[in-house]
């Protein structure tokens, strides 16, 4: 096996050779034991299976709570349903690290967790509502409408089932037309957050689901049907994804495990880095902070964003360490990327572990602020320098960590990280 110094030296020397000679350097052998690396990829499948299974189980609990809400709408049953939604996000957000790189997840994800959304597509909205320019569905209000005409196409909306709602996603080509998934359910349970960057989340009354004289909101039977259908669909979608990660089946996991082991490692690293930099640090934090835009907050109706971000970060760490703490408290652990990297370059491994711990601590800062009554949408308020510092600290920790992921990839001789473009190469 190569030592750390030798591996670094080989890499460096290949760069110099390319720089001053036309000779092609001999391809070095893989800097890891093939069988061990295969176990790492297999264990990655185990982690995905456990996390998606937990997400499914929690979504089923959410469905129970929603049925109780619909059976007897009250502040208590609405609170319980909201609590179940928050709990369902804990495992789901830890699965997002599997999204980038694994096409089966990325293509499926839009129906499950698309955001931000023009919520006027789904239900009534306040006059202050700001939709995306040129979105023909921005005020479609599916709940209040038995039919919908966009362009030349007329749609029958009389029967609100999962299939119909799924077909309304990206209506008119606009990606903010999101009719299904966690955020559609979130909007139905909380309603719009009309507090801007001040304290407070959405305040939809439980009576929006009532059918007696107390009913508010209008079209309550359809709102009830919508909530039921969209929750059902979420469960079906999660069942599909759990099946994709079962062992010894004809599914995505079988393809992943049959592929070259280097491609598996590449997908693991690409998922970690893409979520860390472009998605979590960029789309989910920097855009909202720099523009002071609560519309660009991830869980903007419920103000649960701090936990969503925290568990996104946890997911990145899970993949590197080969660990996942299940909802029931058990910890799954096994062969990890960390083991492979450490065997070649203990310093790079230890550095990345420190960076992962530092980003977790920085994201914990968001959670702590929320516990003290300062939620993400208040931290991004204009003039809140202390709030901006908390978020910038988390962004910076994720940027640094992404550099560490790149270094770990180099230790494993992975130069092209994007599996889509890498397909052309290897």
């Amino acid at each position: 096996m190569l030592t750390r110094v030798a591996a670094g030296g080989l890499l460096l020397s290949s760069l110099w050779i390319a720089g001053c000679s036309d000779d092609t350097p001999a391809a070095p052998s893989a800097p890891y034991d093939e069988a061990q690396a295969r176990q790492v990829v297999n264990h990655y499948g185990e982690l995905a299976l456990a996390a998606y299974s937990d997400a499914l189980a929690e979504a089923q609990q959410l469905q129970v709570a929603i049925e109780a809400l619909l059976a007897a709408p009250s502040n208590d049953t609405l609170s319980a349903a909201r609590e179940a939604w928050r709990a369902a996000r804990v495992p789901y957000m830890q699965t997002e690290v599997f999204r980038f790189g694994n096409r089966v997840v990325d293509e499926w994800e839009g129906q499950v967790n698309a955001w931000p959304l023009d919520e006027g597509l789904i239900d009534y909205v306040d006059d202050s509502y700001q939709a995306v320019m040129g979105n023909p569905g921005a005020r479609a209000n599916i709940i209040a409408s038995e039919s919908l005409t966009i362009g030349e196409e007329a749609r029958d909306l009389s029967n609100l089932d999962g299939e119909l709602l799924a077909s309304l996603n990206e209506l008119g080509g606009s990606e903010v037309n999101v009719a299904t998934g966690y955020h559609a359910i979130e909007f139905l349970l909380w309603g719009q957050d009309l507090n801007g960057t001040d304290a407070g989340a959405g305040e939809r009354p439980a009576t929006d689901f009532a059918t007696d004289a107390s009913a508010t909101g209008g079209h309550n039977e359809r709102r009830r049907d919508y909530l039921r259908a969209v929750t059902d669909l979420l469960i079906q979608d999660l069942e599909f994804m759990v099946a994709q990660w079962q062992p010894d089946a004809e599914n995505y996991r079988a393809e992943l495990e049959a592929d070259a082991v280097k491609n598996g490692l590449r997908k693991m690293l690409f998922g970690m880095g893409s979520l860390s930099l472009g998605e979590l640090a960029g789309e989910r934090m920097k855009v909202a902070l720099a523009a002071h835009s609560p519309e660009d907050e991830h869980d903007c109706f419920s103000d649960n964003t701090h936990f969503s971000h925290f568990y996104n970060g946890k997911g990145i760490r899970n993949v590197y360490l080969g660990e996942y703490r299940r909802v029931n408290g058990e910890t799954l652990s096994g062969p990890s990327l960390s083991d492979l990297v450490a065997a070649n370059d203990a310093a790079v491994d230890s550095q990345l572990k420190q960076e992962l711990a530092a980003s977790e601590a920085a994201l914990q800062g968001l959670v702590d602020n929320a516990a003290n009554g300062l939620h993400f949408d208040q931290l991004i308020a204009p003039g809140n320098a202390a709030g901006a510092a908390v978020i910038n600290g988390a962004i910076e920790a994720l940027v640094v960590q992404t550099g560490g992921i790149e270094k770990a990839a180099l230790v494993l001789d992975i130069q092209a990280l994007n599996p889509d473009t890498a397909d052309h190469q290897f």
Partner: protein, 340 residues
């Protein structure tokens, strides 16, 4: 083993004059730094034009010309935007794109409603959306803005943005110049940013390759490539000033200028020819577009030409991101678009 490798390295190092370091120094001094200076100069001219317009000494056309020039120098700079300007939220202060929710109109009007006249403190404390060229363009070109009739309302913002941009580019330039500046970090190794010329060159190339990826996005988003083919004209960059294609041309020129200096390092002569041809082909397709992008995407007959341009950019990206990176032994790391 270790001793052998180190000995081999020493031989290689002494046998090689290190053309990579030479190219990196050239890039820094002949391309990157001058492009930052040019951008700074255009911001100064933008400020003079805004002040002149608001003092009734210049007409609106003069401000528009100055704005186009600033857009051009900013677009040229993007593939060269290494170091200070790429850090913190500095580049976000220059331009806010994409702006799907029309935040620029909402935030500009809300800011001017609550601060009349607008003060410097209010602008500095506001979001990046109102501090940059996107807001400047909104005031100058949006049909909803009655600039001629409402100068007292909008002039403090135009002047404020131009001053903010000039101060920003002065700050960035100061971080490039001097013995501790970015330019010297690209000439003397190792330093606190780069362990070697290779690392620095890799970083320059990553910036340039990412910028070509962004060009695809700037074209593909209004074409509706992320929206089931439904065109999104109002998501084009600089749609209000109808300058989207000019921006793409300037950015392509900046990217090509990097390539021109890197070309000599590439071992595969066939690859050099193909990348040269890809730049030529993309540049010709861009130059041949007859109308502003915001109009072309809404005209079905124009879509095949845009599609051909997109494919040409895609080919250029693949050649650089995959083949060039492999030829030079450079890791293409993560970029901000990977989450899309």
């Amino acid at each position: 083993m270790r001793v052998m490798v180190m000995a081999l390295l020493t031989v290689l190092l002494s046998a090689c004059s290190n053309p990579r370091q030479e190219v990196t120094v050239q890039l820094a001094n002949q391309l990157l730094l001058p492009a930052h200076e040019q951008w700074h100069g255009s911001n100064g001219a933008l400020r003079v034009s805004a002040e002149g317009f608001c003092a009734d000494e210049l007409d609106q056309a003069a401000v528009e010309q100055a704005f186009y020039r600033t857009l051009q120098s900013w677009s040229y700079l993007q593939p060269l935007m290494l170091g200070p300007l790429a850090e913190g939220n500095r580049s976000w202060q220059v331009q806010f794109w994409p702006d799907k929710r029309n935040l620029v109109a909402h935030q500009v009007e809300a800011l001017l409603d609550s601060h009349s006249p607008l003060t410097r403190e209010a602008l500095e404390g506001a979001s990046v959306v109102v501090q940059g060229l996107t807001a400047f363009e909104y005031v100058l070109f949006d049909k909803a803005v009655d600039l001629a009739g409402q100068r007292p309302r909008y002039c403090p913002l135009l002047i404020g943005i131009a001053r903010h941009q000039q101060a920003l580019s002065a700050e960035v330039l100061a971080l490039w110049e001097g013995p501790e500046g970015m330019a010297s970090r690209l000439g003397d190794f190792p330093n606190d940013r780069y362990a070697s010329a290779d690392e620095a060159l890799g970083s320059i190339l990553r910036t340039q390759i990412t910028a070509v990826d962004v060009l695809k996005k700037k074209l593909g988003v209004p074409m509706g490539r992320l929206n089931k083919g439904v065109v999104q004209p109002w998501q084009a960059e600089a749609w209000r000033s109808r300058h989207s294609i000019g921006n793409l041309q300037s950015s392509l020129s900046g990217a090509r200028a990097v390539w021109e200096r890197v070309r000599s390092l590439v071992g595969d002569a066939g690859l050099v020819t193909r990348i040269d041809a890809a730049y030529e082909n993309t540049g010709q397709k861009l130059a041949g577009l007859p109308a502003p992008l915001v109009e072309m995407v809404q005209d079905k007959a124009s879509l095949p030409r845009l599609q051909a341009l997109y494919e040409s950019l895609d080919n250029l990206e693949t050649l650089q991101q995959v083949e060039l990176a492999r030829d030079l032994g450079i890791q293409i790391g993560f970029n901000a678009n990977d989450g899309d």
